[in-house]
Amino acid sequence: MPATTLTNSYDAAFVAEVRRESEQNLALCYQCGNCTAGCPVSFAYDFPVNQIMYLVQTGRKMEALTSHAIWLCASCETCTTRCPNDIDVARVMDVLRHMARRENLVAEHSIHAFWNSFLSSVERYGRVFELGLMASYIGKTGRVLTDADLAPVALRKGKLTFKPHDIHGVAEVRDIFKRYREHRS
C-alpha cells in the first residue's frame, strides 16, 4: 500500500457533500469503534464501518466510495443506535452509496443490480413483483442459480405468483420516478 499523503488526500468538497446530504458531522467521530463493534456484516467488509467514517472524516473520497463495505451494509441501524456522538452512521453509509452510484464507482455489482431490478419492478408495477425481480436480477448478473432452490418451495407454499401485483395508480408511481430523475439531473 503506498503511503497516503495527508496534505493532499483531504477532499474538502467531499467532506462537505457528505455532511450536507447526510446531515451528519463526521468531525464529531472520535473513532471509538462502537459502530464496528456491533456491525453484523463487518466480517465481510473491506473496511470496517468506523474506518469508513474515518475516511469520510479525513476526506479520503475514492477509498470511501469504492469500498465494498458501503454496499454490504445491511442497514440494520445498530451503528446509529450505538454511536456515542449521535452520528447517524447508517445514514452516512446510505449517502456514500448514493454518491458512489452517481459517480459510477459501484464496487458490488450484484447488489447494485439487485437494487436496480427491485426499483424497476416498483416503477413498472407499483409494487414488487418477486418473480419478475428475480428474472431481471438474473438477467443483469448472469447468476442463474440464485435462490433456485427456494423458488419451488415458495411456489408450492403459494408465496410466489406469476402475475405482478400491479396497482391502478402505477402511472402515479412512474411519475414519481420521472420527476425524481428530473429533479436529480
Binding site: M1, L6, T7, N25, Y30, Q31
Partner: protein, 652 residues
C-alpha cells in the same frame, strides 16, 4: 508485661493469603502474650474499639497490631492505645500486608511468615519503655524554593497566613515555565494576565523576602529549626540601585547572547531584563557573553546606567536563613529531543520544541506573537505536531506520561488557527490524555471546531524537502503509512525532573524517584508531604502537573505549613538516644558520627561523658552503632531489642 496481639484481615487483603486466625493462635505461644485475636479491619472504628476494650479487659500493658505497613497506620494505633490508657510507645506493628499477604501466594508460607513477624514485634515490644515526647520551639518562617506558579501560590498563601516567607529562585525572575506560556488551557486565557499580578504580589508583599538568581547551598537542622544557606549569584548589577529602566540593555553591544528566556529562539544582550513583566525587574549580566567580563573592554552599560548600578566586581554572596519549614517547588525541565535522530536530532531549524513554539505565539516573544519559521521567517502553512516526544518511551528510560502535553498541543493547534486561519495543523498522537475538568471537551474543540487533524500514530522520520519537511509516519487507525509535507514541526517534548533536582533532594534529605521527581509521603494520603518532617512539595517537582494542579498543591503545601505552625511548640519524637553514664568512657566516637550535632561532651564528676540533646537528636542510631561500650542506646532500637528480634527469628 501483658501483651495483646491483633491480627488484621484488612478484608481479603490480608485474610486472602494469610490464615489470620492461625497467626493469632500462634501469637498466644509467644512470651507475655495474654490475648490474641483476629480482627476484620483493625483501623476501623469497631476495630479500634476492640483494641481499647481488650486493653481494659485483659489489663494489657502493650499492644501489637499485625496489619499494614506502619507508614499507613502506626500513628493511628498509637493514638488508639493512648485512648486505652497506655503509653503510646507501648505499641508495635507487624507488617503482614505489604511485606507478606501482597507479595506471596503460598498461604502456608505466608501464615508462617506473618506469625514470625508478630513474634519479632512481641520481642521488641517486651523491651520497649514508656516514652514521653519533649517539646521544642519552632521558627515560624518558611522557605519556598522555586518561584514557578506553584511556589508563587505557596509563598503568597503562607504570607497571607501571616508567615514570613523566603522565596528562592535560581533564575533572575520568578514565574517559572508559566511566564513563558502564551495562553493557557483549558480557558485559553493569557498566561501573563493571570500570572503577572500574582508575581507583582510577591514583590509587594512585606512578608516575602525574594532571592532570585539564588540557589540553596546547604540545609542543616530539622523541622521547626532549619538553617539554610542560600547562594546569591552575582548579577554584576547592584539591585538595590537598579530601577529596571533597561537603558543598559539598549546600549549593550553584545547582541548575540543566547536568549534563555526565549528558549534560544532569537538573541538578547549580555545585560538584560529577561522579559518585560520580570519580577524583580532588575538587570543582570550574563558573564559568559559580557565583553567586559570576558575581554576586559566595553563598559557601555556603565555609561548608560543612570543609577550607577553596574558592578563588574560583584561576587556570589551566601546568606543564611533560619526557617521552620521548607516548601520545595522547583518544577520540571524539558526533555532534550536531540537524542531522537529520526526527528533530525536538532539539525533542522524548523523542528522546534513546544516551549519554543509558546515563545513564537507570545506577543512578548521574539517574533512579537507572529508565527514565523526560525529558518526563514516565513509564515508556515502546514504544521505538524508530534506528541509524546520523550515521554512514554521505555527505550530512553522515560516510561511515564508527562500529563500535560496532550492538552497544550491541542491548545497550540487552536492558537495556531487563531493566528493563521489559512494554516492546517496535524497532530500525531498515541492516545489522548485529558482527564481534567473540561479537558476532553477542549481536545474535541481543537478537532471539531478548529479542524486540527489528529493522526493516531508515530512519526518515523522528518526529512527536509524543497525548503519544507517531509514527515513520514503511520496512521494506526487505518493501518497505512502516511506522509505530510509541512513547513514547521513542533515537538511536544515531555517533562523531566528539574536540573539539579537530585542534588537539592540530597541537601534536603528527601527522596526522589528513578526520574528525579520528589517522593511524596504517601501517594494518596500525603501528596504534598515528604518523609522528612517540615519539608513539603508543591507543583511539578513531584511529577508532571498542569497549572491548576500545581496551584492546588502550592495552596495545599502552604496550608500544611500553616497547620504545622499553628502550634507554638512541636512535640519531639522521644525515640532518641541516651547515654549510660556508667558505661560511657568519653571517647566521643558517638559525637563524631552524629549527623545532627546532637551530642555534647560534658563533664560529670570530673569525667568526660557524652550527653544527648534530646530535641536535636533525630533518632538515627548512628551513635549507638559507633559506641564501643554500648553506652549510648537509641530507645526502641537498642542493641538488646534488635538482638532479641534476631533471636526470635534465628533461635539456634
Amino acid at each position: 508485661m501483658n501483651i495483646g496481639v491483633f491480627v488484621c484481615h484488612c478484608g481479603s487483603n490480608i485474610a486472602g493469603t494469610v490464615d489470620t486466625v492461625a497467626v493469632a493462635k500462634a501469637a498466644l505461644a509467644y512470651p507475655e502474650v495474654v490475648f490474641a485475636t483476629d480482627t476484620m479491619y483493625a483501623c476501623s472504628e469497631p476495630g479500634q474499639a476492640g483494641i481499647i476494650e481488650a486493653v481494659q479487659k485483659y489489663e494489657l500493658d502493650g499492644v501489637v497490631v499485625a496489619s499494614c505497613t506502619p507508614r499507613m497506620h502506626e500513628a493511628t494505633f498509637r493514638r488508639t492505645v493512648e485512648r486505652a490508657g497506655l503509653n503510646r510507645y507501648m505499641f508495635e506493628m507487624a507488617n503482614i500486608r505489604e511485606h507478606v499477604s501482597w507479595i506471596g501466594k503460598d498461604k502456608d508460607a505466608n501464615t508462617n511468615k506473618a506469625a514470625e513477624l508478630v513474634h519479632i514485634a512481641v520481642e521488641k515490644l517486651r523491651r520497649n519503655t514508656e516514652l514521653t515526647a519533649g517539646e521544642f520551639t519552632i521558627n515560624k518562617r518558611v522557605m519556598v524554593i522555586g518561584g514557578g506558579v506553584a511556589g508563587i501560590q505557596a509563598a503568597l498563601d503562607c504570607a497571607d497566613g501571616g508567615l514570613e516567607v523566603v522565596l528562592v529562585e535560581r533564575e533572575p525572575s520568578i514565574g517559572g515555565k508559566m511566564s513563558k506560556l502564551d495562553k493557557t488551557f483549558p480557558t485559553v486565557d493569557c498566561s501573563s494576565c493571570i500570572l503577572g499580578p500574582r508575581m507583582v504580589d510577591i514583590a509587594q508583599n512585606p512578608n516575602i523576602t525574594l532571592y532570585t538568581l539564588s540557589e540553596v547551598e546547604s540545609v542543616d537542622g530539622f523541622v521547626g529549626n532549619f538553617d539554610v544557606k542560600v547562594r546569591r549569584k552575582a548579577a554584576y548589577v547592584d539591585w538595590t540601585l537598579c530601577t529596571g529602566c533597561g537603558e543598559c540593555a539598549a546600549k549593550c553591544p553584545s547582541k548575540k547572547t543566547p536568549d534563555r528566556f526565549n528558549e534560544f529562539i532569537g538573541k538578547t544582550t549580555a545585560i538584560n531584563i529577561p522579559f518585560p513583566q520580570a519580577i524583580p525587574k532588575k538587570a543582570s549580566i550574563n558573564a559568559a557573553a559580557c565583553l567586559m567580563l570576558t575581554k576586559g573592554k566595553c563598559g557601555a552599560c556603565v555609561k548608560a546606567c543612570p543609577a550607577g548600578a553596574i558592578q563588574f566586581k560583584q561576587e556570589d554572596e551566601i546568606v543564611t536563613e533560619q526557617v521552620g519549614a521548607v516548601i520545595v517547588a522547583t518544577g520540571y525541565d524539558l526533555f532534550d529531543f536531540t537524542q531522537y535522530g529520526e526527528y533530525g536530532g536538532g539539525r533542522y531549524p524548523d523542528v522546534i520544541t513546544s516551549m519554543q513554539y509558546e515563545r513564537l505565539l507570545s506577543a512578548s516573544g521574539p517574533t512579537e506573537g507572529h508565527i514565523k519559521r526560525p529558518s526563514d521567517g516565513k509564515e508556515p502553512k502546514d504544521i505538524v505536531f508530534i506528541q509524546c516526544v520523550g515521554s512514554r518511551d521505555k527505550s530512553i528510560g522515560r516510561p511515564y506520561c508527562s500529563g500535560f502535553c496532550c492538552m497544550y498541543t491541542a491548545k497550540q493547534t487552536i492558537l495556531t488557527k487563531d493566528h493563521l486561519p489559512e494554516s492546517q495543523s496535524y497532530v500525531f498522537y498515541m492516545d489522548i490524555r485529558s482527564p481534567g475538568k473540561g479537558y476532553d471537551e477542549f481536545i474535541r474543540r481543537a478537532m471539531e471546531e478548529y479542524g486540527a487533524r489528529y493522526i493516531r500514530g508515530r512519526v518515523s522520520a522528518i526529512q527536509p524537502k524543497n525548503g519544507r519537511y517531509l514527515i513520514k509516519g503511520v496512521n494506526t487507525l487505518m493501518g497505512d503509512q502516511v506522509e505530510i509535507e509541512a513547513d514547521l514541526v513542533v515537538l511536544a517534548v515531555g517533562a523531566e525532573a528539574a536540573k539539579g533536582a537530585p542534588q537539592l533532594a540530597e541537601k534536603l534529605r528527601i527522596s526522589y524517584d528513578t526520574y528525579g521527581f520528589y517522593m511524596e509521603g504517601h501517594p494518596k494520603l500525603k501528596p504534598v508531604e515528604t518523609n522528612t518532617a517540615g519539608i513539603y512539595l508543591a507543583g511539578s517537582c513531584q511529577g508532571p502537573k498542569d497549572i491548576p494542579s500545581s496551584v492546588a498543591q502550592g495552596g495545599a503545601a502552604a496550608s500544611k505549613v500553616l497547620g504545622l505552625f499553628s502550634k507554638d511548640k512541636l512535640a519531639s519524637d522521644p525515640q532518641v538516644s541516651s547515654v549510660s553514664l556508667q558505661r560511657c568512657i568519653g571517647c566521643a566516637k558517638c559525637q563524631s558520627v552524629c549527623p545532627f550535632g546532637a551530642i555534647e561532651m560534658t563533664q560529670f564528676r570530673g569525667m568526660t561523658k557524652a550527653s544527648v540533646i534530646a530535641t536535636v537528636c533525630q533518632g538515627c542510631g548512628n551513635c549507638t552503632s559507633a559506641c564501643p561500650q554500648g553506652a549510648i542506646q537509641l530507645s526502641h532500637f537498642t542493641d538488646n531489642q534488635i538482638l532479641a528480634e534476631v533471636h526470635a527469628l534465628c533461635p539456634y
